[in-house]
């Protein structure tokens, strides 16, 4: 016999709904932690550049790291939030740029030549066109819905 837990389930989801309507500001502790982590990475990078005698670059990265660390500790929900948002936007810009650089390259190097190769001799690999010789377009399924097949993603 199945037992329902209506009240408990209702209480659970309704609480979520109420929570969703609250607009919480960023948590200062989390932001400090995030800033510390980011600045640590910057300091490591700075040390790396310093070691290989890129002193100017090392100084710039060190200054950025210091700014991030200070803002995270002294203004975690103010200045650091602004810097963090800017960093995210920059990250998005970089990822979009890479996307538009790498994916077209992949498309031109792989999909265009192999696509053309697959279609040579006007082959209709995807059965896109009408076929007047067929009396039906239904395709009989040759594989059954067998046990075990469902464990695979293909």
């Amino acid at each position: 016999m199945t037992n329902y837990h209506h009240e408990k389930a209702a209480a659970k989801i309704w609480n979520w709904q109420q929570n969703q309507f609250k607009v919480d500001g960023p948590n200062a502790r989390q932001m400090r932690l995030k800033g510390t982590l980011h600045s640590s990475i910057a300091f490591c990078a700075s040390a790396f550049f310093w070691y290989f005698a890129h002193t100017t670059l090392a100084t710039v990265v060190f200054c950025i790291g210091t700014l991030v660390l200070c803002s995270a500790w002294f203004s975690p929900t103010g200045l650091f939030t602004v810097i963090d948002r800017g960093g995210q936007k920059l990250g998005l810009l970089v990822s979009n740029s890479i996307k538009w650089l790498l994916l077209p390259l992949l498309y031109f190097l792989f999909f265009i030549p192999f696509g053309k190769l697959a279609r040579r001799g006007k082959k209709d690999t995807m059965k896109r066109f009408y076929d007047e010789n067929l009396s039906t377009y239904w395709i009989s399924r040759d594989e059954d819905l067998q046990q075990g097949n469902r464990e695979k993603q293909f």
């Binding site: 037992n3 329902y4 659970k12 309704w14 709904q17 996307k99 046990q147």
Partner: protein, 606 residues
């Protein structure tokens, strides 16, 4: 130890979760109802949490988790599509690929992480059903039939866009399929886009627009866009479609064929759009009928189960039912992708775990009225109302239905929030707005003041099951509002030819004794309500009948344009306060607009 199977659909549209315990559907819900994002496709964390809580198995273990399609096969189809159209398709490739590479190809870890967040440490075996297997299982296993033909039609799954199958006992097989890019769902969506509606959500608007037009483009569609065979199979003429290589559905050739560019959203309708809507609707009906005929030939069954997005086309369903082709037809109420979560779980229950189905009687299905979502007790509602200092009147069980019926009869619009939330796109009386269908101004009132939407579309009717044939030329059960039927002749008013009139004028013309639910072609989308499945809703309509002699009410979903149907009492109250509804029924509590505290408009709405 009972078998617990969690079904999940996600990452396309209408993500949902469903939980089976020993084959019984304990809970099912769409993610959009919790996240409040319409057609939310994201992994349904909230819906999963709800399902687990409903069965009391949070922090526990599952026997299986089933995803509703096979992502690698889908990815293969996408790659092959690009291979087929390259060098065009680059823009689409760059847009589609990151999503797949970042997220969709890594489903098992994402699922396990999501379940971990929901408290499930041992998710059991992970399964992946084919997309159309999930649809077919959602149509057959909960149906009232021991054996049946199964027809699934939608946009596309992995490769299949439509399948014919056969189910008997706990076994189900898919016999034939049509493959992408030849898809009835895509064809209908192409016209949805062309007539200025949103693809994957505006299809029902196109269906609602059809009766205003004439089928002047029917032959054009059949001759130019399709090669349709007698058995309902077809191929699309891909010279007119661009969904393979672009992010839009149709191309310039299509525009030329249909006398100009697509209608821009929110601009006025012209005769062309209405005629196009009517034409594609007729073609769709023709294809569905031919497919169903072929399914009958292949399986020899007198019963038909339907699922897939196209099965939400209730005009086609109604015509299929009245054609007499099958003795019985059953349509899965969550026929679109949300229902895939249910079908996937059921398929694993019966096929992998080899569990039997209970005996069938051709009448009672397993969907429990599709009332599978959260329910809120009177205590919870009262606590909420008291905490918000909202005035209310408590209705006792004896007078509740009569009071609501009296208010409806007096011309009020009533928000009805009661019992478990519906699973699927239709509100079936538990998250509904109801009103008097005899009222000549009610259609306009509901559209403009409550729903804030285009007013050309008619409202559905909830009719007492035993009185359906008194009002409609229809003899079938339609508990999930998935059939359209014609109003009986004696209830119709003769109306002068108004074809040249403005569409909104036509929509508001009084055409029958029940003008608010009567479309321009005297059709109506209807839900038959019986005392067994939803007694509290039945009692309201019965009480309305006792007062007025009319055994039906208008039933439209409890939401406003662009918003998912309300889920919780607080959402119902917010919706109530921001629209021109007159009364709100929350369980056993009645709220009147004038008595309630005004909503502070700085509150967050969505």
């Amino acid at each position: 130890m009972s078998k617990r199977i969690l079904g999940i659909s996600a990452w396309f549209h209408d993500a949902a979760a469903c939980l089976l315990v020993d084959g019984k559907i304990i809970a099912a819900a769409e993610e959009e109802r919790f996240s409040r994002k319409k057609h939310d496709p994201s992994l349904p964390l909230n819906a999963i949490r709800y399902c687990l809580a409903e069965a009391g198995i949070e922090d526990s273990q599952l026997d299986a988790v089933v995803f509703y399609d096979k992502p690698i096969l889908k990815f293969h189809r996408i790659l092959e599509s690009f291979l087929c159209v390259a060098p065009s398709g680059l823009k689409s490739f760059v847009k589609v690929m990151p999503n797949w590479l970042r997220e969709k190809l890594w489903l098992p870890p994402a699922l396990l992480q999501a379940l971990d967040e929901c408290g499930i440490k041992d998710a059991g075996q992970l399964y992946f059903c084919e997309h159309h297997e999930s649809h077919a299982a959602s149509a057959f296993y909960p149906s009232p039939f021991e054996e049946a033909a199964i027809l699934t039609i939608d946009g596309v799954g992995e490769w299949a866009s439509a399948t014919i199958g056969y189910g008997n006992g706990n076994k189900m097989e898919l016999i034939k399929e049509l493959e992408f890019p030849h898809s009835l769902g895509m064809l209908y969506s192409a016209f949805t886009y062309f007539t200025g509606f949103k693809v994957n959500s505006g299809e029902y608007k196109l269906m609602g627009l059809a009766p205003y037009g004439e089928p002047v483009y029917r032959d054009t569609i059949l001759n130019e866009l399709l090669d349709l065979k007698d058995d309902g199979s077809f191929r699309l003429n891909m010279d007119y479609f661009s969904f393979l290589d672009e992010q839009v559905m149709v191309n310039e050739a299509f525009n030329r064929l249909f006398d100009g560019p697509p209608r821009q959203p929110e601009t006025p309708f012209t005769r062309r759009e209405m005629d196009i809507a009517r034409s594609i609707q007729e073609v769709t009906e023709e294809i569905v009928l031919r497919m169903a005929t072929h399914a009958k030939d292949v399986t020899g069954s007198q019963n038909l189960c339907l699922a897939g997005g196209v099965a939400l086309n209730c005009v086609a369903n109604g015509k299929l039912a009245t054609s007499g082709l099958f003795e019985h037809i059953w349509v899965q109420p969550a026929a679109a992708d949300a229902g895939g979560a249910l079908g996937a779980a059921l398929s694993v229950h019966h096929n992998e775990f080899a569990q039997n189905r209970t005996a069938r009687d051709n009448i009672q299905d397993d969907m429990q009225g599709s009332l599978l979502g959260p329910v809120f007790s009177d205590t919870q509602i009262q606590d909420y109302l008291d905490s918000q200092e909202i005035d209310y009147e408590k209705l006792d069980d004896e007078n509740r239905a009569i009071t609501i019926a009296q208010l409806t009869e007096a011309g009020n619009v009533i928000g009805l929030f009661d019992g478990r939330m519906e699973f699927g796109p239709r509100a079936l009386g538990n998250r509904s707005i109801i009103a008097d269908p005899r009222n000549t101004t009610m259609q306009a009132t509901l559209n403009q003041k409550i729903k804030f939407r285009e007013s050309f579309r008619p409202f559905a009717a909830s009719v007492l099951k035993e009185r359906v044939s008194d009002y409609f030329d229809f003899q079938h059960d339609t508990p999930y509002m998935l059939m359209v039927a014609k109003l009986r002749n004696e209830l119709r008013h003769s109306v002068a030819n108004d074809r040249e009139q403005d569409i909104y004028q036509r929509a508001n013309t009084v055409r029958s004794e029940l003008p608010a639910i009567t479309h321009t072609d005297y059709s109506c989308r209807l839900q038959s309500v019986d005392n067994k499945t939803n007694p509290r809703y039945y009692q309201i309509i019965k009480a309305f009948e006792a007062i007025t002699g009319c055994g039906m009410v208008i039933n439209t979903s409890f939401n406003v344009r662009g918003e998912p149907i309300v889920c919780t009492p607080s959402e119902a109250w917010r919706c109530f306060m921001r629209t021109n509804m007159d009364y709100l029924v929350l369980g056993s509590f009645l709220l009147k607009k004038n008595d309630s505290a005004r909503l502070n408009d700085t509150d967050i709405w969505d």
